[in-house]
Symmetry: C2
Subunit: 247 residues, 2 copies
DNA sequence: CCAAAAGTGTTATCGATACACCCATGT
DNA sequence: ACATGGGTGTATCGATAACACTTTTGG
């Protein structure tokens, strides 16, 4: 193998796995990919992601690309894993689409995965330029065939989030509206972690999270006893996870 | 900015942060880098790492490169973070060295960081081909100026390991000889986590780790009461971290 | 008055912490 | 016999888990 052959440089991209919660289901943001093959147009789904610029940091690229593809701004994205299987772009359909859209000759792509948790109310610019972004129930992901290895990337992102929520349950507040009920929070928690929390124990546990405040307000327009509202004040939240210190 | 300019593709490398424990100090494996500037040769330290091959997975590349640079085999490396600041290779000394050794024109390099914990007794092929690998106390890292952003990468790796050890203390057995004393294990634990564990509480905690076995054997040739030896049987270790399940 | 969901307290268990003295060995 | 580190148990505290009935509201 020649040196040049061996050290051929791949492209680098980022892919963003953005989770949201609509009150019932945990959802992930996907964009539509239009594929023209022969004389047929059809479409497909993928994670928002793209090739990074030459002089751009990874975090910056992730923020920029998410914005370009969905319109979302000020999203806190965090890196969770990089994916570099040389076969991840080997599907001819994926390869053709890439070369058409990037106008680059694509050998392989190493992608850096980012996750974010956002309130689903954030306005997504649908039909922005050439792309359409929509929320999909994570339960249906298994039955969908996403572009590239995006099924795998989304799966890993979910694992990452589960791990994080287990250690730092306050992570979940990013997914809820400013004011929320304890039941909404518990549902979300149980959906993310696939658990069934006890109502009373859950309440006790959450009330000791610093920054979670009970409001003197209840939810309106419910056809039953109105539940109390809570909110999370980030500024009052101290560093958690530091509960135990050894001697 | 032209499209081509904007989407210029970087090189991808891996860097391996390998930790070892000599019974007293936590150490990291660094290789020597020889720099020729003008008519002067001098040297420097860096993490073992290099550019990946064209058709190689990231994990495979990490294993291969660590082996090529240190002689180490069968090391379990796990990815912890990727680094992509465009300035990470901008130091002219780093850039020159890269272009000389890789014979490639280097624009920028995105690197994927890997960590491993190994028994320090593993034979490292010193002076293998052009490189020299040696263990350095992590305490001295702060005073050393490593190549590229390797100080930062090593720092992040250490954080990663701390986090992992906190959640899964059995991680530490990778760093100890097959047979070890409880005091050695406790010292290691306290060095990694910067804690001061209580002797009795630590013993209790560790004895409930599945797979840790007390042997009917004591350490020889010590000028005081001989301490008992323990070993860790990986096969008997169940999945930990699953202690609590909610209703 | 019925349906639907909200709200609330006690007990048992477990894991984590704090803490001090005697034991075995080599010199 | 002494110096050095090894080995051991108990009491307290806080977090978690199990568990069921009453309250509020709209229709």
């Amino acid at each position: 193998m020649s040196n040049e052959m061996m050290k051929y440089n791949p492209h680098v991209s980022v892919d963003c796995v953005v989770f949201g919660f609509d009150g019932e289901k945990l959802k992930v943001l996907l964009i539509e990919r239009i594929i023209s093959e022969n004389n047929d147009n059809f479409s497909d789904k993928k994670l928002p992601g793209s090739i990074i610029y030459e002089d751009e940091d990874l975090d910056t690229a992730a923020t920029r690309i998410l914005n370009e593809l969905t319109g979302l701004k000020n999203i806190f994205l965090s890196q969770f894993h990089s994916f570099g299987d040389p076969k991840r772009t080997s599907n001819p359909r994926d390869k053709n689409w890439l070369e058409k859209t990037t106008q680059l000759e694509i050998g392989r792509i190493v992608t850096v995965g980012y996750v974010a948790l956002i309130k689903i109310s954030r306005k997504i610019i649908f039909e922005s330029e050439n792309t359409t972004a929509r929320w999909y129930d994570i339960k249906t992901l298994k039955t969908m065939k996403l572009a590239f290895d995006h099924n795998q990337i989304a799966e890993e992102a979910l694992k990452h989030i589960r791990h994080k929520v287990m250690l730092e349950p306050y992570t979940l507040f990013e997914l809820l509206p400013q004011k929320f009920t304890m039941t909404q929070l518990r549902n979300l928690y149980d959906i993310v972690l696939e658990t069934k929390s006890d109502v009373r124990n859950f309440q006790k546990k959450m009330l000791q999270v610093e920054g979670l405040e009970q409001l003197n307000e209840v939810q309106k327009d419910v056809p039953y006893r109105a539940p109390r509202l809570y909110r999370f004040d980030k500024k009052k939240a101290k560093n958690t996870l530091n509960k135990s210190r050894k001697k």
